[in-house]
């Protein structure tokens, strides 16, 4: 064998482009991690001291700018309840819409395409616009008419309230639930539907007994994403239910409520003495982050249990 045709596996030269690209992608990832670390680190270091049991369990006085007497209990309660009420509305409506789109609506017809486009566009609407929509539609239209029909002497429904804030958030997060549910419905093998139909099941029986149980983890993912998005949103509740100050916790769905995200805004813009308020602000942000984290964690644990149950059976 002559030298010119001999083959070997040694690299002739250093593969620079490969090295460069690996470095570039690694650096980009590192940058994201660094930003996250700076944000979380800053908040935790500065907010940890103010995060006490007294702070999270106290209903503050009207002047809540004093670190020694202030608390965030009404804000924790308000944020939790509005997210919870939103979930009650957004999950069933979103899931039923997704079932219509994937199972019943004629495939690729103009109307189905139109609905899908509308859902996607809904996801792109700025949240402040949802806030204004909530004010105009839920409070000034539905609420005012309910008051008129019920002949209330003063406004009960026709004013900002927990229920309207929750519904506004539900409208805002609807696309998330619809898209997640649609994806999980489409992922179910067609063979399972055929098997059920071939046994003489109706379409409805097939959906209820075979399709939905399988899609449950995917549907819950949609719910989790909706909760994550809604927990920290302030703009949609600005005109529809949040209060600057309430002396007591909300009792009815028509009450206004205090909210953690909005409280952060209030503390950072309305304080008479910013130096004095800063520790409260940091502590409040810590509480907001932990609450969002906790709400997600609860949902993720429930989903894990559902998955485990499905796997045990399926």
């Amino acid at each position: 064998m002559s030298a010119t045709t001999r083959r070997h596996f040694r690299a002739e030269k250093f593969d620079f482009s490969s090295f460069f690209f690996t470095g570039l992608t690694g650096l980009a990832t590192l940058l994201i991690l660094a930003i996250l670390a700076v944000i979380l680190g800053n908040i935790l270091i500065n907010g940890w001291q103010g995060f006490t049991w007294h702070f999270v369990s106290t209903i503050p006085k009207k002047n809540f700018f004093d670190i020694n007497t202030t608390g965030v209990l009404p804000m924790i309660v308000g944020t939790t309840i509005r997210v919870f009420v939103m979930t009650i509305f957004v999950v069933p409506i979103g899931v039923i819409t997704a079932i219509y789109l994937t199972e019943y609506a004629p495939n690729n017809s103009l109307i189905t395409k139109f609905i899908r486009a509308a859902v996607n566009n809904l996801a792109g609407v700025p949240s402040i616009v949802f806030g204004l929509f909530g004010l105009g539609f839920f409070i000034n239209f539905i609420g005012k008419h309910m008051d008129a029909m019920l002949q209330n002497p003063s406004a009960v429904w026709g004013q900002p309230a927990l229920i309207w804030a929750a519904l506004t958030l539900a409208v805002m997060t609807m696309p998330v639930v619809i898209v997640a549910t649609e994806e999980s419905l489409k992922a179910i093998p067609p063979g399972l539907r055929e098997a059920s139909l071939a046994l003489g099941a109706t379409k409805l029986e097939t959906i209820l007994r075979v399709v939905l149980p399988q899609a449950l983890p995917g549907i819950m993912t949609g719910g989790i994403l909706a909760v994550s998005r809604a927990a920290g949103e302030v703009a949609p509740i600005l005109f529809t239910g949040v209060a600057y100050y309430m002396a007591s916790l909300p009792h009815r769905v028509t009450d206004q409520f205090m909210d953690l995200g909005y409280h952060v805004f209030v503390l950072s813009t309305q304080s008479p003495n910013i130096e004095q308020t800063r520790p409260i602000l940091y502590a409040t942000v810590v509480v907001l982050l932990l609450l969002t984290f906790a709400l997600n964690l609860v949902a993720i644990i429930i989903r894990a249990r559902v998955r485990k149950k499905l796997r045990a059976l399926g």
Binding site: P106, L192, E194, L197, A198, L199, A201, P213, G314
Partner: protein, 266 residues
């Protein structure tokens, strides 16, 4: 829907009663014609094999018999298909009722992601829930008929997806026979199985033949020869030849059939 097959009309000699009567049936998917003017008469309690190269329309014809083609958009059917003397495409037919009487086993085993027990009980729950002991009895009987009982009796409440491919397919057969159909359609039921599991399915089909009318689509020529009484050979949407299996495999009338069964094409 009127009774497909009144019990008093039943006799015990296989094939002597006409059960399925297909008359000049054509099927179009949109513009393309998948079945061309098929006429075929199948007797009660016989095993009929549909053979032919891929795309010849045998599966499509099978799916006409329990109207699974209804699920596909743009399907148009002409001609008639009678089961027990009643046209299953006439407007007064209840498709649910039809599918209870015409069960189906698919190419890819498709047990529900539920327990073995729940898989077999699924159809029973659908069609009027009987008492628990009654359901349990039918589940056992169906699993026994599908030759699966001994293998799963100790883990009835374990997942059906933990079974082997062959067991899953027999479970699908048990699930189909639990609701006591008259006809069982099988769409290449053993094509994804190893030779041993295939042999078990074939034994099972010969056993089931005593109680059910079976129509089976298969790519496996030896399988058709082993298990069927009658064989229909299809080619590009047309029924080329339909006769007793012995005749089709030893002395076919058409050259095309001979070429196919001897492996010269297809």
């Amino acid at each position: 829907m009127p009774k497909l097959n009144p019990p008093e009309a039943k006799t015990n000699s296989p094939g002597s009663n006409t059960l399925i009567q297909i008359e000049s049936l054509s099927l179009h998917y949109g513009e393309s014609k998948a079945l061309k003017n098929i006429s075929l008469t199948l007797g009660e309690k016989v095993v009929t094999a549909f053979i032919g190269p891929s795309g010849c329309g045998k599966s499509t014809l099978l799916r006409c018999l329990n109207r699974m083609n209804d699920l596909i958009d743009n399907v148009r059917i002409e001609g008639s298909c009678k089961i027990g003397g009643h046209d299953i495409y006439s407007p007064d037919v209840d498709v649910i009722e039809l599918r209870k009487r015409v069960g189906m086993v698919f190419q890819k085993s498709n047990p529900f992601p539920k327990s073995i027990y729940e898989n077999v009980a699924y159809g029973l729950h659908l069609h009027g829930s009987k008492s628990k002991p009654e359901i349990a009895a039918v589940v056992e009987q169906s699993l026994r008929s599908a030759a699966l009982w001994d293998e799963v009796k100790d883990r009835l409440h374990a997942s059906a997806l933990g079974l082997s491919g062959g067991q899953q397919q027999r479970l699908c057969i048990a699930r189909a026979i639990a609701i006591k159909p008259e006809i069982i359609l099988m769409d290449e039921p053993a094509s994804a199985l190893d030779p041993l599991a295939t042999a078990r399915i074939e034994e099972l089909i010969l056993e089931l033949k005593k109680d059910f009318t079976i129509v089976i689509v298969t790519h496996n020529m030896q399988q058709a020869a082993r298990i069927s009484d009658q064989t229909a050979f299809f080619y590009i949407g047309e029924l080329i030849e339909f006769d007793s299996t012995a005749k089709i495999f030893t002395n076919p009338a058409k050259k095309q059939t001979e070429d196919y069964v001897t492996g010269r094409f297809g």
